[in-house]
Amino acid sequence: MSNILLEVKDLKKYYKVPKGMLHAVDGVSFDLEKGKTLGIVGESGCGKTTIGRTILRLVEPTSGSVIFDGVDIPKLNTQEMRHMRQNMQLIFQDPFSSLNPRKTITQTIEEPIILANMIPDPDKRFMRVMELMDTVGLAERLVNTYPHELDGGRRQRIGIARALAMNPKFIICDEPVSALDVSIQAQILNLMKKIQREMGLTYIFITHNLSVVNHFSDDIAVMYLGRLIEKAPSEILFTNPAHPYTQALLSAIPVPRIHNRPERLLLRGEITSPINPEPICRFANRCNCAVPICSKEEPGLIEIEPNHFVACHLVGRA
């Protein structure tokens, strides 16, 4: 299908630590269509941040393939990779530390353009910077301001403008609004959606905030301890979550309502260690529905209905 922009196959990232091997990302596979948004959710330690960095090769994958627009990313050499980066960009979580405090907005936004040598003429390049600032809603009078003079929302807009500077096809957004106030979050999310429509972008949206990801994504992938445990279109995930962890995750969201409050499914225990994990269901120790096989075998990812994948022994068995 030529409609698939990104194909991730059995992607793994392991770190060597004194106690053994830390499985940060442990064999994740998915496809992403052009123009769509995939939300990746999970709690701390699930590997969602690592997988974003690994796809972009900001962190070298241990094994697996990442096929972007037909090109196998991990196989490119440094020169080719640098060139490929024009197509795949990253928006960071922390709007302060992701901007060089000694560079003005203009310098930050034009840097990628300069590096890729896309517009050699300084005046034309500056016009492009102004255009980008306009797209993300930054006033022209801010051209020579430094990040510390601006609030979180504006700083994040700079981050977005920088990501758009080279006209990428694909952007990974790593918790882009988590550090912002609620009223500003909505502004930034609307902006990102608008840009996606206008520029035909494909997004991966990494977050721990489930309400935000529902609003923003077409499909959602849930990660736990480095593995993909459920993937489904957003409406289906929220109305019919199959994996016990997904169910617990959804029910844990504090609902801003005082009537008809949903039943809370509380998890027991704590997340197990990602170091040298056993080949069993990694969620078994906390699962309220665990059966003996869960502590013996690792469940594979099964498609239980069109486009709905789950890795759980209790599901998909007729």
């Binding site: 609620v182 502004q187 801003p256």
Partner: protein, 334 residues
């Protein structure tokens, strides 16, 4: 750790007209600008607001912990069970801190001392306030750990051996050792994963009912408010713009900022194509707008809003709002 009987009439905390500014050579940060708070015995008040609303400063002032020399309490009264905090001596304050009033901060990573065992840290509070021997204190510390759902044997372990959620439980254990009358929780679950947050909130709920504690829960998350609180105060630019019971705020809100907060929330049940943000930016506490601080962002702004501060209007026995829309009426104007 017996539960104390409370005089039902007494208010655990009363703050009246609190004004706190941070004054430095370059600028004056108007953090708190006339805040009124009342927490009745055994009840939980949710203090809701975003950055710059003045929530943390207000919380710190209750124990007279506002950082000096910049932080100056310019006016106001803080009464803890009828006693004025601002006139207490340092010795008197030390007696209440940890004993009558306990505080939990946002980041469990930095609230615990990494070089002491968790048992020792819980015992420290017991030793100071209960005047028992070290062995007795450590024994009681173990019991506290069990109470918050951590096996007592772990009391000899160090903070680094615990996860974020467990560290926060230890922090809660320390806070509750002396059965305080008032627990101040400043965004206690913001740094935690959502499933752990659910566990910790459940724990906090159980314990406050068991000890009949009053609580000030500071948060920006209306979901947490719905789960844990009895009453809500909405803070903006150092003022309380709306206050009421859960029903008042969730079913009958009146202030445009409160409405904005609810509208900006993505609802997991209804997927809208666009979220409805509040336009504009958070006000700069060194340069607050004239009149009502929310007027530059308000969809219902009128001329009077930029000229004068709205008075506090009581719409019912429990519900009050600071907005010019309600000068002459109690009906919703939104």
């Amino acid at each position: 750790m017996e539960s104390k009987k409370m005089n039902e009439q007494e208010n655990t905390l009363e703050i009246r007209n609190l004004v706190i500014h941070y004054i430095s050579d370059e600028e004056v940060v108007k953090a708190v600008n006339g805040v009124d708070i009342i927490i009745k015995a055994g009840k939980t008040l949710g203090l809701v607001g975003e950055t710059g609303a003045g929530k943390t400063t207000t919380a710190l002032s209750i124990l007279n912990l506002v950082p000096e020399p910049q932080g100056k309490i310019l006016s106001g009264e803080i009464l803890l069970e009828g006693r004025s905090v601002l006139t207490m001596s340092e010795l008197e304050l030390e007696e209440i801190r940890g004993d009558k009033v306990a505080m939990i901060f946002q980041d469990p990573m930095t609230s615990l001392n990494p070089v002491h065992t968790v048992g020792a840290q819980i015992a420290e509070s017991i030793e100071i306030h209960r005047k028992v021997s070290k062995e007795e204190a450590l024994k009681q510390a173990k019991e506290m750990l069990e109470l918050v759902g951590i096996p007592g044997e772990r009391s000899n372990e160090y903070p680094y051996q615990f996860s974020g959620g467990m560290k926060q439980r230890v922090v809660i254990a320390i806070a509750l050792t002396c059965s305080p009358d008032l627990l101040i929780a400043d965004e206690p679950t913001t740094a935690l994963d959502v499933t752990i947050q659910a566990q910790v909130l459940k724990l906090i709920n159980e314990l406050r009912r068991k000890y009949h504690m009053s609580m000030l829960m500071i948060t920006h998350d209306l979901g947490i408010v719905a789960e844990v609180c009895d009453e809500v105060s909405i803070a903006y630019a150092g003022r309380i713009v709306e206050h009421g019971t859960l029903e008042d705020i969730f079913d009958n809100l009146r202030h445009p900022y409160t409405k904005g907060l609810f509208d900006a929330l993505p609802d997991i049940e209804i997927r809208r194509s666009e979220l409805k943000p509040i336009k504009g930016l958070m006000p700069d506490p060194t340069n607050l707008p004239s009149g009502c601080p929310f007027h530059p962002r308000c969809d219902y702004v009128m001329e009077v809003c930029s000229q004068s501060l709205p008075e506090n209007k009581w719409l019912s026995e429990t519900h009050c709002v600071q907005c010019h829309l309600y000068k002459d009426t109690n009906e919703s104007r939104l």
